[in-house]
């Protein structure tokens, strides 16, 4: 496993600059966080395609939608605790309902906003965005995933939400594999237990010292979901852990649990996620992970619990 780490948000900014060089229709709508979401270079290189709305996320979402209807591919970028949190109703009407070609980029998601504390640790974004018709939801595990996801959605006219994090995080996916919307990737084959997750928190699954044979699935495409890969794995193992840096309510675990129950399967299931609580400040992500029950120790406990049953 490479021990390199890279910033997911930097990967977003770099990828967008690259794409914008060959695609003059790519626009950015910003809400006063261009430096934080790594769009300073985009703004410098393409000033006419960088639209600054100030701290006004509702207007930014509406402007993005209007621009999109003049033929642009618009990236609306801010922190997820503001967009889609403040402007959800505008996203629903002006982007989702109006079929606007807008990609909502929500940075600083999850506990990984560390020192910023609860107001900036967005733990509800997937719940908000999964619930919208016409909306795709993606959560890259690392900088490689980010590059692939941004490149893929830039080529599609559909609205999408992409969840990014603030911290530098480990590179643990394969840069050579192709990203396909609605497809999950098996990072490690196994037969006893399936672990599914999204975002950097999943990296912990690869570091576990366990005597069990664990199948690890990276699920960056939260909506649409890769039912086939998930069901195939769960049929084989009969035991499932979903881990995510998000509220239990409305998260990936809930989406997967519903899908599996509807399919007729009933594996043993543990959902490791933040359970109806707010985040808090901290400097060490692992300390936060442990406190909120999504650490590697929690993963091992869950594995032992499922295996003993």
């Amino acid at each position: 496993m490479p021990n390199k780490s890279l910033s997911i948000r930097q990967s977003f900014g770099d990828t967008l600059v690259k794409l914008a060089r060959s695609n003059p229709q790519i626009y950015v709508v910003s809400a006063d966080l261009k430096s934080s979401v790594k769009l300073s270079e985009f703004a410098r290189k393409f000033p006419k395609r960088f639209i600054e709305c100030g701290v006004a996320e509702n207007n930014a979402a509406g402007v993005a939608a209007g621009l999109a209807h003049t033929g642009k591919t618009v990236f609306l970028a801010s922190y997820s605790c503001f967009s889609p949190a403040i402007n959800w109703a505008t996203i629903k009407q002006s982007i989702s309902y109006n079929h606007s070609n807008v990609k909502i980029i929500g940075s600083h998601s999850g506990l990984l906003s560390t020192a910023l504390g609860s107001t900036h640790q967005m733990l509800e974004d997937i719940a908000l965005m999964r619930s919208l018709p016409n909306m795709q939801v993606f959560s890259p595990a690392d900088a490689y995933d980010t590059q692939k996801i941004i490149t893929t959605i830039a080529a599609s006219p559909l609205p999408a939400y992409v969840r990014l994090v603030r911290a530098n995080t480990p590179l643990f996916t394969d840069p050579r594999t192709k990203f396909t919307i609605g497809i999950a990737t098996i990072l490690q084959q196994g037969k006893d237990i399936t672990i599914i997750g999204h975002g950097p928190v999943l990296h912990q699954a690869l570091t576990l010292q366990s005597s069990f044979s664990i199948e690890i699935i990276n699920c960056p495409s939260i909506k649409p979901l890769d039912n086939e890969t998930i069901l195939k794995s769960v049929k084989k193992t009969g035991r499932l852990i979903v881990i995510e840096d998000h509220q239990k309510n409305g998260g990936l675990g809930e989406a997967i649990a519903t899908m599996i129950l509807e399919s007729g399967l009933s594996p043993k299931f543990i959902h490791l996620a933040i359970d109806n609580r707010f985040g808090q400040s901290g400097h060490d992500p692992n300390q936060l992970y442990e406190h909120y029950g999504i650490s590697s120790k929690n993963l091992l406990d869950a594995i032992n619990k499922l295996s003993n049953d």
């Binding site: 509702n58 207007n59 509406g62 402007v63 209007g66 999109a68 002006s94």
Partner: protein
């Protein structure tokens, strides 16, 4: 669509579309009537003057509940068959209770107030060579997003953006003075960096002349259209309870019809 009609025939058109609007709401059993009656003449001015070409220019109805006024205008302009009007707000109809892009000629689906001006600003920014006209209600100006959009349009000098405010002085629960005073809307828009034109919004010709002036501006233009809530139906005028009606009685319907037919 351009009729190039002179004053009296525009007046006749307004009477005819006011009847269509009343019939539509009576037949469907439900509808937002008070504001639709006030917004009708400004919308007629937008669509039936020779100023705009909606194959290229843009119209955004931000106050989506005023769609009865837009529906009768679009039907008259042959965007869809007039006999669809009676299906307004019924199950399966393209004429949703709040305006949607399912309707030919409609560019923006709305219903949640305060969003349309932002969308219109985005259109104006992305399509500088054409005009974008937005219609907002005065009650809608309670929403903070309107003022976010007002700042934005001024910053980007969107001279091709026109916001017509249907200033009928009522909102769903009462007069704007009672619920949330708009105070001097014109002064507010001027302070936000817009050009402001004030007009008697009930008078189609005056609105058309104002639109002509608004079209060539270096700044975004706000047209404050002073209109009459429930325009043309005496018992609805100035009565906020007519924000929307359910199952208008036949008696009231016939009375309203007669008033519109007999209006000078």
């Amino acid at each position: 669509m351009i009729l190039s009609q002179s004053g009296p025939s525009l007046k006749e058109l307004s009477r005819q579309l006011r009847l269509d609007l009343l019939d539509m709401i009576y037949q469907s059993g439900h509808g937002h009537i008070g504001g639709s009656l006030s917004a009708l003449n400004p919308i007629i001015a937008v669509y039936f003057s020779p100023i705009f070409n909606f194959k290229k220019d843009h119209f955004v109805l931000s106050a989506g509940h005023l769609c009865p006024a837009l529906y009768v205008v679009l039907a008259k302009a042959a965007y869809f068959p007039k006999d669809l009007l009676s299906s307004y707000s019924s199950f399966g109809s393209i004429l949703q209770g709040h305006v949607s892009t399912q309707v030919p000629g409609v560019e923006y689906s709305s219903g949640s107030l305060g969003q349309g001006l932002s969308f219109a600003a985005g259109l104006a920014l992305g399509d500088k060579s054409h005009t974008t006209i937005c219609l907002t209600s005065d009650g809608e100006h309670n929403e903070g997003q309107i003022w976010e959009a007002a700042m934005f349009a001024s910053k980007y000098k969107l001279g091709n953006l026109i916001n017509i405010v249907d200033h009928n002085k009522y909102q769903i629960d009462g007069s704007t003075d009672q619920i949330m005073p708009t105070n001097d809307l014109a002064a507010k828009y001027i302070r936000f960096g817009w050009t402001v034109l004030t007009v008697n919004g009930d008078n189609i010709n005056q609105v058309i002349n104002t639109l002509k002036k608004a079209k060539n501006s270096n700044y975004p233009v706000c047209i404050i259209a002073n209109t009459t809530y429930g325009k043309g139906i005496s018992f609805m005028q100035y009565d906020f309870k007519y924000h929307s009606v359910d199952n208008l009685s036949q008696n009231l319907y016939l009375r309203a019809r007669k008033e519109i037919l007999n209006a000078k």
